[in-house]
């Protein structure tokens, strides 16, 4: 191989690596720019607020997904867990909003813990475990709350649509979750371990890391975060709708994580990139809707974005 071709290859690898790490920000900037120019009424405080509120659940779910993917796993059940938590909010509302929200969060954590236990202890592939949970979880939510149930509670309504200091509550909560996950990843032993498990599970085991406990905790956290998103959505809609809450959000979340620079093979996690990825997914859908394109276009556009993102991310995954 000649020196020139080696240099060309190094350049290409560097470009690809840069694209993996920062492509998502370019994407967000591009779509914002497009909207500023072509979408009437995009630049307004009200619209920013709407976009932020709608992006909030995706961000929260994507955070949990990023942690799971960093361990080399996947969680397809996040949408179903959202539906479960929505169902429990409605079931326990009689005990007051606080109790119902806490129960919903607990249920999400338990669903995640079930995933985690089967993945970590029994060693079954995460995709199949969480696929089963995806079906069984939404089924259970529909058994408990068969159809849309309106939720009339002043506190929950305030949480869903109110704001403090001009920023909606749900956005505050999402920001809090981002801070929490950033703290976990950057400052705690747990954060180191989850990346180590994803990087090389055997090496992590051999060096004495509590691999199973880490995995269990990661899936539990992912379930709990999905439940937070479920509560957010329920509060915003003022209704518990297990049929449609969180439907297909696993796709947006996985895409957000991958677009954000976390490789599907694990061993690395990028929190800020994930948040940007989630915002990108929200803006993509919002742009297509604003330009009166039918839902079918949204789905096909999302397909293209997912495949492109995974394609760009693939090289590092093999190293």
């Amino acid at each position: 191989m000649s020196a020139a071709s080696v240099m060309a290859r190094v350049d290409r690898d560097r470009a690809r690596s840069w694209l993996q790490d920062y492509g998502v920000y370019v994407g967000v900037a591009a779509i914002v720019l497009f909207n500023v120019v072509f979408t009437p009424g995009f630049v307004s405080l009200e619209n920013f607020r709407v976009q932020a509120v709608q992006a909030a659940p995706i961000v929260v779910v994507a955070l949990g997904m990023a942690l799971v993917i960093a361990t080399g796993g996947i969680d397809l059940s996040v949408g179903a867990v959202m539906a479960l938590s929505a169902a429990f909010v409605s079931l326990y509302l009689g005990y007051g909003p606080l109790v119902s929200v806490l129960v919903a969060l607990l249920v999400g954590a338990v669903a995640g813990a079930v995933n985690g236990t089967i993945v970590a202890v029994a060693g079954v592939q995460a995709i199949i475990v969480t696929l089963a949970m995806m079906i069984a979880g939404r089924g259970l939510a529909l058994v408990l709350v068969p159809q849309l149930e309106g939720i009339r509670n002043p506190a929950l309504r305030e949480f869903g649509s109110g704001s403090v200091a001009g920023v909606p509550y749900v956005v505050w909560v999402a920001a809090l979750m981002v801070a929490l996950v950033l703290f976990l990843v950057r400052r705690t032993l747990f954060g180191r371990r989850l990346v180590a498990v994803g990087g090389n599970r055997r090496a992590a085991e051999l060096s004495g890391l509590p691999v199973r406990r880490t995995l269990l905790l990661v899936y539990t956290l992912c379930g709990a975060l999905a439940a937070v998103a479920g509560v957010m959505t329920t509060a915003r809609l003022q209704a518990s709708d297990p049929n449609s809450v969180g439907l297909l959000i696993e796709l947006s979340a996985i895409t957000a994580v991958v677009v954000g620079g976390t490789p599907l093979s694990g061993g690395r996690v990028r929190v800020a990139g994930t948040v940007a990825g989630a915002i990108l997914m929200q803006l993509l859908v919002a742009t297509l809707i604003k330009h009166n394109l039918p839902p079918s276009w949204t789905q096909m556009a999302q397909t293209a974005v997912i495949i492109a993102a995974v394609y760009v991310a693939r090289e590092r995954g093999r190293s």
Binding site: L248, S296, Q302
Partner: protein, 334 residues
């Protein structure tokens, strides 16, 4: 089938005497459970073990069986195809739409489009080396979007015109007993079984699933084999869609969402390992029948909702996968 059994035991398996029993359970466990369930239901439920009801159960699960057949090949290569559910729905809508131009068009169009989606899956996975689950998750969404755009965002339900040749064929019965869809399924499974266990191509499928790198070093055309299995899976989804459209007389847009889990369940229940390299087509058929019989029993006993059935099938899948992981873990590892 000897070719299949030969490649199962890992090195050193002869040292453990427990392996043959486990191997037997892994291979025929589903059949055993199916027999037990059939006998129990036959004793406990009136009118269950009649030719009419059994034919009803079998024909009703013909779509699932065809999907599971395609899925078997994919899973044996160590992959997964999550797009079959919406691809199947797309096939049904396309078949119903094209039926106005005759039965041949209704057959050809879905097979072409669904096969193309399968091919796209295969190319992305085998050539571009994308992870199977994310690729097929994306095309699941894409196939859904395509179906929605074909059916006017799901607002138009195309009807199959009365008197179509395929309609009478799909609803017909051989000797007045065995429904033709069941017959088609049996024929497809025999062809699939021969292709997987008796041909060089089938050996390639096993080799790719067993160890892709070794397979490549042995000269197995890995990329071509993988592309082929996803294309076959797409074609199966298209065929099942055609069958469904003519069975129901229309292209129902919501049918088929989530059916991919049932197809995967059936394959796994049938003894095929999700990790690839091991599995067989006949097991998937038994798996489909087992799922169908259990569903039939749930329906007969109490008018439980479909949501409840989803809970049961999710839990059932986990139980089976757990049992399998115990069985295969006790098998010595390379």
């Amino acid at each position: 089938m000897s070719t299949v059994t030969e490649r199962v035991p890992g090195p050193g398996s002869e040292s453990s005497r427990g392996v043959p029993v486990r191997e037997l359970l892994q291979r025929h466990g589903a059949l055993l459970v199916l027999a037990v369930v059939l006998v129990a239901a036959g004793v406990g439920l009136d009118g269950f073990l009649t030719a009419g009801n059994l034919n009803h159960v079998a024909v009703g699960s013909a779509f699932l069986a065809i999907l599971a057949l395609g899925m078997t090949f994919v899973i044996v290569t160590g992959g997964i195809d999550l797009s079959v559910g919406t691809n199947f729905a797309l096939g049904g809508v396309l078949a119903a739409w094209a039926s106005q131009y005759g039965s041949l068009a209704a057959l050809a169009l879905p097979l072409a489009v669904c096969g193309a989606i399968g091919l796209l899956n295969g190319v992305l996975i085998a050539r571009a080396r994308l992870a199977p689950f994310i690729t097929t998750l994306a095309t699941m969404l894409g196939a859904w979007g395509l179906m929605l755009s074909v059916s006017d965002e799901g607002n138009t339900t195309y009807l199959v015109p009365d008197g179509a040749v395929l309609t009478s064929l799909v609803h017909g019965r051989l000797f007045g007993v065995i429904g033709y869809p069941l017959l088609l399924v049996l024929v497809l499974f025999v062809i699939g079984g021969i292709a997987l266990s008796r041909t060089g191509w089938g050996q390639n499928v096993y080799a790719v699933g067993g160890d892709e790198r070794s397979a490549a070093l042995m000269g197995v055309p890995v990329a071509r084999t993988k592309t082929a299995v996803y294309t076959v899976s797409g074609l199966c989804a298209g065929a099942a869609g055609v069958l469904n459209a003519f069975w129901l007389g229309s292209g129902v847009t919501i049918f088929g969402i989530g059916i991919e889990l049932q197809a995967i369940s059936a394959v796994v229940i049938g003894g095929t390992l999700l990790s690839g390299g091991y599995g067989f087509v006949s097991g998937s058929f038994v798996g489909v029948m087992l799922l169908a019989v259990i569903q039939n029993i749930i329906n007969t006993i109490s008018g439980l909702t479909s949501a409840f059935q989803e809970v049961v099938s999710g839990v059932f899948l986990i139980v089976v996968v757990l049992a399998q992981s115990r069985l295969s873990r006790s098998r010595p590892r390379a």
